[in-house]
Symmetry: C2
């Protein structure tokens, strides 16, 4: 019997029961709205996590790198959207994936990209499908739904030998919306922008079979998806303190943590030192911009019970500093050298990225009282 | 002929000529002071980088994880200091390394650690050597040089069956000292604390053959090292914008960068978007605390020439945002989609950690005008 007391710290832990609960929640919400999920695998980069989402075999996924696309293609996934604006010199890898039988779709928002996709399609003797990125909230890339270049790009792609598959947007600013009501309005805005863009293409005689929206906050708070054909979300499998800070989940839903060991004390400073630094947690401090700053993360015991008022407040490469939340009356909890703890992350995508596998726990505790390990799931980093 | 125009972006680049120059500079400084270097390999985690430091074969190294120790032991390194406070349940891996013939030294600052090292030594029938960590500047762990527990810990280790190898400190606060003069005073403080601790042990009849100091700023600015037996430094092989910001190096010395490709433009926002996000650069924003905030990094062309006033100002997982430095008059440079650039990092240790290998450039440019690739050096992450 192996439990969380066994592996050498630090290491990433996935709570499979919480993971399954998070998946069931979004599945139920989207089923009620009648729109399928296109899972974003960039958070977990794990075939095993994705298999919990797609119990009946590989489903449609979104990737953030071609390395993810290649890795998931190796595992039998054939419907893959590469949702980062295309660098034209990556088209050789796109063509190679399509020749393997993968329906790989790329993302563009400029005429030169449409021309490059069309030229590569002609050269390869196949039609590479692309979505045009629409901007709904000024977050990052994309065209306004009313931008006349949308039609020019669509036409260059369609007439040049590529395949105009449709339009996509992402309400990235919803991560900064503090309430479900605001996030629901973000979802409306996300839906309206992309539906309007699809209508503009169709009015110009161009196809737009796919109308794709998605972000974890809007996926959970949208109440109507008329005109939308798919919802993308990824972070929800694990959730994190940023999502808890805006109410998309509870702290008790967070399925990813980092197991660490106490290695020292500085009572004169109010510090407990651990062997989990930023190499294990990442440097992400997403909650610093929220009303409640959770430092580098909340601290639980090995069983996952929160230790009140204790935060990871600082990080070196392989050292974490735990201290009481500023303004909290002491004393520090008694956590001797050798005590194992878990850190709940600010941002699951960033923390998971520091690891090459997950220690998976599920079900009742082991004989030593610690969560029982039921598997080790690899993760695929790189580009 | 392969150059930086070939690999799929984003990827980490090491400029070997700059690396060699950085190594020669610290080697010359320490040779003049008559103290050997114990290279910290946590920055590069690369056998190939370390081989540039130790031209005559494996030398003494410092590691931040036992995975580094095991990896470097596989490559023939036999003198290894594990310079993170010991979690007692890692002693089985320590014993395994010593049984392989590696002189692995651990670090402690508490009586329970000394007792655990002594007990493991007796159980294994060998003497595990440990240094006692001394605190010189309130940065992290360690005991004050005058703390009476120093003698108790030394005695428990020495009399209990372990080996008291000596004392160590690290002027971590020197990273926040803005001038060479201040850093030189930090170096004096670092030296005095650890020398005083060694003298206290010896006065109590205990050995302290090793007196170890080190940080990249103090290693370059220290002017006297009487009583010190070794200097640890690691970041200096690559340097970074934090080190340039406190004058330890020039921007032109930075040997690590991340190659990225332009994938979009938002002229309405003043943004150029790239395919290099925080997954490629890390979330480290070390220069945010310095007088000149360099965002997520300075931007160069593919040949390494700085593009004036352009910064990486924001990062998503796989998107970087480039913009003019706040307060700078426009216009944005003309960098079409497909243009390759390089990002100079805030913190080389953190940026390098996002990658599993380095593309190595050296010598004159290739036929296409881009730096020529002379190798791909793997890096060993994990714990």
């Amino acid at each position: 019997m192996t439990t969380l007391t066994n592996p050498s710290t630090p290491f990433a832990v996935v709570d499979r029961d919480r993971l399954d609960r998070n998946i069931a929640r979004l599945r139920a919400h989207l089923a009620a709205l009648g729109v399928p999920l296109r899972l974003h695998v960039k958070t977990s980069k794990s075939i095993d996590v994705s298999a919990r989402v797609f119990a009946d075999g590989p489903g449609p996924i979104t990737v953030s790198t071609l390395a993810e696309a290649e890795h998931f293609a190796d595992a039998g996934y054939t419907d893959i959207l590469y949702a980062v604006g295309l660098a034209p010199d990556k088209l050789d890898r796109v063509v190679a994936l399509r020749r393997r039988g993968v329906d790989l779709i790329v993302l563009i928002d400029a005429l030169v990209q449409a021309e490059a996709v069309a030229a590569a399609s002609r050269a390869a003797g196949l039609r590479i499908p692309a979505l045009i990125e629409i901007d709904c909230d000024g977050h990052r890339g994309g065209l306004a739904a009313t931008d006349p270049r949308l039609i020019d790009i669509g036409r260059a792609l369609h007439d040049g030998g590529g395949e105009l598959r449709g339009v996509l947007d992402h309400a990235g600013e919803s991560y900064f919306s503090a309430t479900a009501g605001e996030q629901s309005r973000d979802a409306d805005q996300e839906r309206l922008a992309v539906v309007r863009a699809a209508e503009a293409l169709r009015a110009a005689g161009l196809p737009s079979p796919v109308v794709s929206v998605g972000s974890t906050p809007t996926a959970h708070t949208g109440t109507a998806l008329a005109g939308v054909t798919e919802v993308r979300a990824g972070n929800f499998v694990f959730f994190d303190l940023v999502m808890a800070g805006i109410g998309v989940c509870a702290v008790e839903d967070i399925a990813l943590s980092v197991a660490v060991t106490v290695i020292g004390h500085r009572p004169d400073k109010g510090w407990i030192l651990t062997d989990g630094g930023w190499m294990a947690t990442s440097r992400d401090r997403g909650t610093a911009a929220q009303p409640v700053d959770q430092g580098y993360g909340l601290v639980t015991d090995l069983a996952g019970r929160l230790i009140p008022d204790l935060l990871m407040t600082a990080a070196s490469q392989e050292h974490g500093t735990l201290a009481l939340r500023p303004g909290t009356a002491g004393p520090l909890p008694d956590l001797p050298i050798g005590t194992r703890l878990r850190i709940l992350p600010n941002h699951a995508c960033a923390t998971a990225a520091q690891h090459d596998r997950y220690a998976v726990v599920a079900g009742p505790a082991g004989d030593d009282g610690a969560p029982r390990l039921v598997g080790a799931w690899p993760r695929h980093n790189g580009w």
